[in-house]
């Protein structure tokens, strides 16, 4: 379990760095990277505000690459799910009820603010396949 957390935090760190294009991340603070989402102090000190937490999911053959993606975010974080898929379907985040169509070979971005604590499934709606499991911790 601990391994999983560390692994997912590392993955997140990588995606955040890649996503923001910032290059100063030595990514040693594994737990802190999950809470990259803006706090007022950081916006004041660093001129370009830190972007929302990005969670990347790659769908191959209608299934999530590397298994169901599990991520934790804190309540009130801004989150973007970036789903790259080789099949056409509808990406649906339960609970927050955000859904977006994705074309075969396309990418869908689902943006939401994590206001409700709990665990939420992300599904390929038409296939009924779960691709991610987002935990919003209070």
């Amino acid at each position: 379990m601990k391994k999983l957390i560390v692994a997912s935090a590392c993955l997140l760190a990588v995606t955040v760095i890649a996503g923001c294009g910032s290059d100063d991340g030595t990514s040693t603070e594994t737990t802190d990277t999950t809470t990259v989402a803006t706090t007022t102090t950081t916006t004041e000190t660093t001129p370009p505000p830190a972007g929302p937490t990005e969670i990347r999911i790659v769908v191959v053959n209608g299934a999530p690459k590397g298994g169901i993606v599990r991520e934790k975010v804190d309540k009130d974080d801004s989150v973007v799910l970036v789903v790259k898929s080789d099949v056409a379907d509808e990406i649906h985040l339960h609970g927050y009820d955000v859904s977006r169509d994705v074309e075969a070979g396309g990418t869908a971005r689902l943006r939401f603010k994590a206001t409700i604590p709990g665990r939420f499934e992300v599904e390929l709606e038409e296939r009924g396949v779960q691709i991610a499991d987002i935990t919003v911790t209070p």
Binding site: R70, R100, R119
Partner: protein, 453 residues
């Protein structure tokens, strides 16, 4: 962005933190030993089963024909609406009235009412109401409504257990359990099962042994502080209705289906099971959707059957040990079935509390637009459910508290039964140990599943 009034499976519980688990476990173990060593030595519960009669005027009102007709009409109308929306409404699962009504309002709401107020299903069952109406019409025409065959009792409660298993299998093994058309066909089939059974064997036998929901709700209602005796409503101590044994064939299997399905539901949402299903789908990536769905269904069916079998096996093992220690000469299998009922109710409460309070709210917009056509019949279509209505901490307290209450109640009932069954205090105490172990296992097992992320 497209917003859907999405309901079922909307928010799942966060796993309970280890500290809640350990505190819960400590209370369970402590309470168990206190109960075992310091409590009563003579059976207590059976004496209280009767209860105290409520004023006759109240009983007459509650049990009146007018109330039955009113509730029956309402429930038949709801059955009709469920069938119509499931078969002809939108196929977008959660814009349709049927899925939320069946899985949340009916399947979670009626057990709650049964535990609180007694066997309400006898007045709320649409199938019973239809059968009553059919008999009434026949008798009006001067004919006698007689069952085709006599119920011999040979099959015991197995038909009801099979019916309940079919329902939980539909809910828990099918990759798309909320798909309205599937639910429409299932509702039609179940309606046939309930009505045909009552026509063939008579209303009362089929309600007691064949109609799975009626049997489940009646069993849960035995916990309730209210009951009906000889035409009047009585009030009694909760759980006293579970005193005694249950010698109906298949009683154990029925309870095992109830317990096993709820625990499998919890386990199937854990990452362990989800990854198993996910891997299977990856393995079958090249196959058709139908093959993948079928394989998923079979995997889930295996899991469900395993959980039911595990409940049966552990119960039988504990009873065998108790028989050995008690040196009795008869089977004790029927004696400790009823103590499992509060545990089953606790499982239901712990696993479905969030679903009920959060998903239940979606029925408010759905009732205004049951077919998902953009109607607003009652002006509630725009109602926005509050998904953050309960905090995770509240959910954890409710879950742990439900399991502890269920456990203590089950244990007290089992203890009461043990002092009836075993002669001599020493034997009674020794022979109770396996049952105590069994119940601790069920309660901690149920709690452990809740800690799984």
């Amino acid at each position: 962005m497209r917003l859907l009034a999405h309901g079922i499976g909307v928010v799942r519980d966060l796993p309970i933190p280890a500290i809640y688990f350990f505190i819960g476990a400590a209370v369970v173990l402590g309470a168990s030993f206190v109960l075992l060593f310091f409590l009563w030595r003579r059976p207590l519960l059976e004496a209280h089963t009767g209860g105290r009669r409520l004023p006759p005027a109240f009983s007459r009102l509650v049990l009146s024909r007018a109330v039955r007709i009113l509730l029956g009409t309402l429930s038949v109308a709801l059955l009709g609406l469920t069938l119509a929306t499931a078969l002809f409404g939108t196929t977008t699962e959660l814009l349709n009235f049927a899925p939320t009504f069946i899985y949340v309002i009916f399947w979670l709401g009626i057990p709650l009412l049964s535990v609180l107020f007694g066997n309400v299903w006898s007045a709320l069952s649409p199938w019973r109401a239809l059968a009553d109406a059919a008999v009434w019409v026949l008798e009006l025409g001067g004919r006698e409504a007689r069952p085709v065959l006599e119920w011999t009792g040979r099959w015991g409660r197995y038909p009801a257990a099979a019916a309940l298993f079919a329902f939980v299998a539909l809910e828990l093994t099918n990759p798309r359990p909320f798909y309205p058309r599937t639910l429409g066909i299932a509702t039609a089939l179940y309606t046939y099962w309930a009505l045909a059974g009552m026509a063939v064997y008579g209303r009362e036998p089929w309600t007691r042994y064949g109609e799975g929901f009626a049997v489940a709700f009646r069993l849960l209602a035995r916990m309730a502080p209210f009951a009906v005796r000889d035409g009047s409503v009585v009030v009694r101590w909760p759980f006293t209705g579970l005193a005694g044994d249950d010698r109906t064939r298949g009683a154990l299997v029925f309870v095992a289906v109830l317990l096993g399905s709820t625990s499998f539901d919890g386990f199937s949402r854990s990452s362990t099971w989800q990854d198993l299903v996910g891997n299977l789908r990856v393995e079958l990536a090249g196959s058709s959707q139908r093959t993948v769905d079928l394989a998923t269904t079979f995997l889930n069916l295996g899991g469900l059957a395993f959980f039911v079998a595990a409940i049966l096996a552990t119960y039988l093992a504990a009873v065998a040990a108790a028989e050995k220690l008690g040196r009795g000469d008869r089977s004790l299998v029927p004696d400790f079935v009823l103590p499992l009922v509060p545990i089953a109710a606790a499982y239901l409460a712990a696993h479905y509390f969030t679903s009920f309070v959060i998903t239940g709210q979606f029925i408010i917009p759905l009732i205004s637009d049951p077919f998902g056509r953009g109607w607003d019949l009652l002006g509630t279509a725009e109602f926005a459910p509050n998904l953050a209505i309960v905090s995770p901490e509240t959910v954890w307290y409710v879950q742990v508290a439900a399991l502890i209450v269920g456990h203590v109640a089950g244990l007290a009932i089992a203890h009461d039964r043990a002092v009836v069954v075993f002669q001599g205090r020493r034997t009674a105490l020794e022979a109770q140990l396996p049952m105590l172990g069994l119940m601790v296992l069920y309660t901690l097992g149920g709690m452990w599943i809740l800690t799984r992320g």
